[in-house]
């Protein structure tokens, strides 16, 4: 079975084609700058040279059609025709309370997705545009929506509710939803496989540390809490996002700086986090600046690590223990020093790190020593594979 996975943003489309017999990636690629004359399409057939071209691509239907043209291209393609695609899996950021699992897309699904646009205005409308575009091109191919929020639908009400008037939840569905669900699901399942144990018996803390970052407490294979909340702004310190902040400080800042809603929203989402403290948002730049004795870079790094440590501690308490901690995504996978610093501060859990293994990159690796009471893993995330698996399961 061939499954075409699509991740549509407002001006980009990322795609991956899987042969699900052996979960092999046949090709992947991306279209960027949709809406412009100089859109760029990059296509990578497995084991062959990458192809890139610049052309006018004004909307998503054309972007997907061009991707399919490359997938069926006589020279760069991996399929004879589009007919060989058995199903399409779409990444959809927000499923609200309506979707607790991946679903087959029909008219009703699309209506509900339209109604959820206000919960994720930057992402959901683009996801739905991608769904409609793919349907137009492949009307007879089943389409499946896989939600970033769905994995967290098992979080109990005492953890997902905010302590504000209950009527606000009832009227506007303001609650913790959590994000990066497909990633937390993938790496926690993979950790259980690597431990050779049934995930139903495990307590896992999964740390997805990318430009956006979140932690999830996964008990028995189910998410029981996560650091991102109603929006992806809550929780850990991130590249440019503040993470947790006293709401009272927000009102005070707005008053003192005479800021409107858009300005404070932009400040917390785009000017804060590592960038807000150190002036750079990339962890590699932070490490470079620390090497040059930059005090603010060092402070940002310490704050970043401390916030993760606090959440790990909280989730150990939430689950009454932990069997494994998993690191994934850009920073989680590629910053050994951060893992060392963090785990050194978690020695009360009996965690010991093998520094040699901690240096390995690009593969699934257990970085804890055999004596460590809690296993620690680095597992490169594969959200597209989760989407492909869910899609196969549904069709």
């Amino acid at each position: 079975m061939n499954i075409f996975v699509l991740n549509c943003g407002s001006s980009s489309v990322k795609y991956k084609l899987y042969d699900m017999k052996n979960e092999k990636v046949l090709a992947d690629g991306r279209v960027e700058r949709i809406g412009q004359d100089n859109a760029v399409i990059t296509h990578q057939p497995a084991g062959r040279d990458k192809v890139s071209k610049t052309m006018p691509i004004l909307e998503h239907t054309t972007a997907i059609r061009e991707s399919l043209n490359l997938l069926t291209h006589p020279e760069h393609g991996v399929l004879k025709s589009v007919e060989e695609i058995d199903a399409v899996g779409h990444r959809v950021v927000h499923g609200g309370e309506s979707f607790s699992d991946s679903v087959l897309i029909n008219e009703r699904t699309k209506d509900i997705l339209d109604s959820l646009a206000s919960l994720a205005p930057l992402h959901n409308p683009a996801n739905v545009t991608g769904i409609r575009a793919a349907e137009k091109i492949m009307p007879n191919v089943p389409q499946v929506a896989v939600f970033d929020t769905a994995f967290h639908s098992t979080i109990p009400p005492y953890a997902f509710l905010y302590a504000i008037p209950y009527s606000v939840y009832q009227r506007h569905k303001v609650r913790r939803y959590g994000f990066h669900g497909t990633s937390h699901k993938y790496v926690s399942q993979r950790a259980a496989e690597l431990m050779g144990r049934d995930i139903a018996d495990l307590k896992i803390i999964s740390c997805h540390l990318g430009n956006g970052a979140s932690i999830a407490a996964v008990h028995g294979g189910k998410s029981v809490d996560t650091s991102m909340g109603f929006t992806p702004l809550e929780g850990l310190m991130m590249g440019t996002r503040s993470g947790d902040i006293d709401p009272g400080a927000i009102f005070y800042i707005m008053k003192q700086e005479q800021l409107n809603l858009h300005e404070i929203d932009s400040m917390l989402n785009k000017h804060s986090g590592l960038y807000g403290i150190a002036g750079v948002s990339d962890m590699r730049d932070i490490e470079r600046d620390i090497a040059n004795d930059d005090k603010l870079a060092k402070l940002a790094y310490e704050m970043y690590e401390y916030r993760i440590r606090k959440y790990v501690g909280a989730y150990v308490a939430a689950m009454n223990g932990v069997d494994a901690i998993v690191f994934t995504a850009g920073i989680g996978e590629n910053t050994p020093s951060l893992r060392t610093a963090l785990c050194a501060n978690l020695s009360y859990l009996g965690i010991e790190i093998d520094e040699e293994k901690n240096k390995i990159r690009g593969e699934d690796v257990e970085i804890s020593t055999p004596d460590s009471k809690v296993k620690v893993f680095v597992i490169p995330t594969d959200e597209e594979l989760v989407i492909a698996r869910d899609t196969m399961k549904i069709v």
Partner: protein, 300 residues
């Protein structure tokens, strides 16, 4: 038709605001200005973006992206590349009609024209051009990037398709579009002018000074600026021009207060001359009440 390139005629406060707003929503914008104001317009747009940057509303890279989408030219032939035209020049009937006529010859025939006029009738402006059905009145309210509403009027021959394009454009710029009937002054300018005129009379009669009038109105009605500051930011010469046109249309109740005439005569025009009803810094910021009062008295 897919709209990507927007031509903005006029590089005053309204034109600059529309250009900045359109560019920040992804449109390529060509700003046209007769005279030397164009380069200054780009500089002022950059200044406006810098103010946003200082308030964390945008990032450095967003600022560069927005500026990169705006170009300026004196060459009206560039209009042939536009997908949509926004006319944002001063409300002088013959000047505006002449400019629209020129644009009518240069733009592709299917291009919709939006006029920001607030005191002239769209139906009358449309008489001078061939595309009578493609002219829509769309009044953006300055400061355009911050005001989330726009007034739309159709002329007697305006086509539904053109209205739809105007609505889509304004909506993409983040404006709620309110369609009203064609009438000089529309809703915003007409009510603002009445308020400004009455406040001017209060000052002229010695009931209060400009700071006091603005503070009471602003704070009691929850406005971000008082009407006198708004008038200063529009330019008192423009305000007077509007009032005279409104007086032509509606009679004595819009007769400008003599104080406004005096200020315009003395070139006390508002922000652009640093002094109007109130006083302003070189960065266009409102001076404090006491500074403003001192400067006002000195000039009086």
């Amino acid at each position: 038709m897919d709209i990507r390139r927007v031509a903005v005629l006029g590089a005053g406060r309204l034109g600059r605001g529309i250009a900045e707003c359109a560019a920040s929503k992804g449109y390529d914008v060509v700003l046209f200005s007769q005279g030397a104001g164009g380069q200054d317009a780009l500089r002022r747009i950059e200044k406006s973006l810098d103010r946003k940057l200082a308030k964390w509303a945008i990032t450095e890279s967003e600022k560069r992206l927005i500026l990169g989408r705006i170009s300026y030219t004196l060459d009206l032939k560039e209009l042939s590349k536009a997908d949509l035209l926004v006319e944002a020049t001063i409300d002088h009937f013959y000047t505006k009609q002449e400019l629209l006529r020129t644009a009518d010859h240069l733009c592709r025939p299917e291009v919709v024209f939006l006029s920001t006029t607030s005191t002239l009738r769209v139906s009358e402006l449309a008489r001078g051009i061939n595309r009578t059905d493609l002219l829509v009145g769309l009044h953006f309210i300055p400061p355009v990037p911050n005001v989330p509403v726009a007034e739309l009027v159709r002329g007697s021959q305006t086509d539904e398709r053109a209205v739809e394009i105007a609505k889509q454009f304004a909506t993409r710029l983040g404006k709620q579009v309110v369609e009203i009937h064609e009438s000089p002054g529309l809703v915003n300018p007409r009510t603002l002018l009445a308020l400004v005129n009455e406040a001017a009379y209060l000052i002229d009669e010695g009931v209060c000074n400009a700071q006091q009038a603005d503070k009471i109105i602003r704070e009691s009605w929850g406005m971000s600026q008082g009407p006198l500051e708004m008038a200063d930011r529009l330019g008192l010469d423009l305000v007077l021009n509007w009032m005279e046109q409104m007086q032509d249309a509606f009679g004595q109740r819009y007769a400008p207060c003599p104080l406004i005439r005096r200020y315009v005569r003395e070139r006390r025009l508002g922000v652009k001359t640093r002094l109007g009803f109130l006083a302003y810094t070189d960065d266009d910021a409102l001076k404090t009440d006491s500074e403003s009062e001192q400067e006002g008295k000195r000039e009086d």
